[in-house]
Amino acid sequence: MAEPHITPPRLTLRGITKTYPGCVANDAIDLSIEAAEIHALLGENGAGKSTLMKVIYGLVKPDQGELLWDGLPIDVRDPAHARKLGIGMVFQHFSLFETLTVTENIALALGEDAGDLPSLAERISAVSQKYGMALNPDREVHTLSVGERQRVEIVRCLVQPIKLLILDEPTSVLTPQEVETLFVTLRQLAEEGCSILFISHKLNEVRALCHRATILRAGRVSGECVPTEESSESLARMMVGDDTPISTDYPKVQGQEPFLQVRGLTRLSDDPFGVDLQAISFDVQAGEILGIAGVAGNGQEELLGALSGEDEVDNHDAIHFPHGAVGHLSPRERRAAGMAFVPEERLGRGAVPDMSLKDNALLTGFLTGLVKRGLIAHGKTRDFAEQIIERYRVKTPGTETHAASLSGGNLQKFIIGREIMQQPKLLIAAHPTWGVDIGAATAIHKALIELRDQGAAILVVSEDIDELFQISDRIGALCHGRLSPIKATPQTSINEVGRWMAGDFSEPQATAETISA
């Protein structure tokens, strides 16, 4: 990095263009990465980040443009060739084999260079120790946590001489502590001269870690910058463009009549590792958003299951709609009474992966006149799906596209749109923007606020405390199956909700007394 003009950049991309039927994934992209540089590739879902790194790794052939490696033009034939050059890649969806051990997994990727397994296991231990990534080479991968699996992928790249490490959204699966550990490793690698291409849409992380950033928007380079000199807002602006609003403040409102009333909801979990709900009581009022915070696994799943009607509740009176108790009603009957539900799991519960968007629209929309005398009104259903796609700006070739082929953010917009378009009186949304990029998250937040202003009662369960403070009118937290007090958002603080999340529901009287004394 000291003499960038004398040494050619480690990798240079010139005018890389890749077209798929129906979309231009990369449009004349230029990019250069120096030795020992941590370079961010920023962009929203669908901006072309994944395609670009597949080009670098030899998984995809570009239609046009050239790659220069240490200043010399090169044609990366396949991943094996890329590895020979010293390019390693850590995939977002791990490319690991669950039934094989760590050593076997790494041996497969190394090919003939792997040597015999015992000596490879020693190399793995040495590398994982050197970079502070504890790893047992003999464990089978299915027994590892997500964070440990990522370590396997990284160590797999590091047991060979490496000059460029590509990481695709590496932090999306990690806890904040694990992210810190990863960053330490990456900085250490960069100091040793390895270039790192860090693909992300998390602005804070990019600002904390990266030396330079290239921003992609809709397949083109929309900016280059030094992230530490930019604010999160200016980075976000480059990512989403000028026409997408990135509003951060919404007016807080007071709800009206309670729509959903929960009184003393107690339920023992069916799952031996589940959480029992203990006497949970709260209201969600028409025209307000109630946010429920909490670290995952504190009863969120159980609460959502009881409210949506998927899990049976013994005490039918525990859950009330304005017209009476609904604790005994099926999900379908609750939907007919005005409820809509956005589950956490998009593929599999929110949408059927192998069905088209049109058919997925029908799945919960069938109560709104899309089925007549037992027959599907195909024209109407298509119109309904098209309206969702248009209003919520779902990026997709059309209504016949399979749900599984949409990116997470796009599919979430479609699912939320599908529920909101049915004009529910009560919307229950679990983790509505989990893994979703800024543009889509903003669109989802705006849609929720708009629905609130039309008078619907909305319950948002989320792990993202910033998000809850942004959109909720009242807020509470779950801990070990118990619900904290609920306060109007302006009258509480992130600190207090943080205490609730840790199980401390007491009023901070101690401090008040100290002050008065």
């Binding site: 995939f91 039934t99 076997e104």
Partner: protein
Amino acid sequence: MDIDLLSNILYAMVRTGTPLLLVALGELVCEKSGVLNLGQEGMLLMGAVVGFVAALLSGSLMLGFLLAILAGVAMSLLFGLIALGFSANQVATGLALTIFGTGLSAFIGSEFVGKPIDGLDPIALPLLSEIPLIGKMLFAQDPVVYLSFALFIAVYWFFRSSRPGLVVKAVGENPHAANAIGLPVMRTRYLAVMFGGAMAGLAGGYLSIAYTPLWVENMSAGRGWIALALVVFASWKVERVLLGAWLFGLASILHLVFQGLGFSISSNLLAILPYAATILVLVLLSRNQIRARLLAPISLGKPFHASS
């Protein structure tokens, strides 16, 4: 029961189990690579008829076996072309292959039905075959049975400690990941399918040249299907395939044994034993989701296309 009878039962058990073992070993390798080839019965029959006709016309049993193997490989390549090359549904393609093989073998063999050849003779190994009880079972068999022992050890070693074996397992578990790290997914699957074809062809040749040296239409009598069930029964473990093949072999000669002992149990009833056992194993396997997931090749039966 005297020891001679028992020794004879064990001998017949291994002999009857051999074609099952051969087909099941081939199918096991094929399924480990993620390809479900339901065409075993068709490949078996083609191997049987081609092997028999070649042996009859040339007078060379060796040539018969060679052509039987080639016939199996040719059939498996047809399957590979459709199911791998064109990414067709593997179940449908396999079923079609069985129907095709059944018909074609009947057509080829129509003029040779009932013609006799001198079959393969057993070779009793000196001294070893004199061991009481298991001597006859293990050391007084014909060469193909000895070959099946060797193939079992080879396949066991292949998956236990060879790199290509690891590649086959990886391709069967997650072909996309395998492709991403640069393993040759398609080549691996083609080779695994061809190995399955060769083994089925050899098993067919064994039936018509050694086990019952003659050709009868549909003479495999469902052994291809039993072998398929056997792979599941063995929960994709090589050593259990051997055990299962011999057990299923025993089950299919059990009615003879019972007759000899003076019991009368319907042979039809006994013939369902292998299938009943397979269903039982499937139920037991699926009781524990995690175990079931780890045993079966995860991508079994799913077509792979590099671009998706």
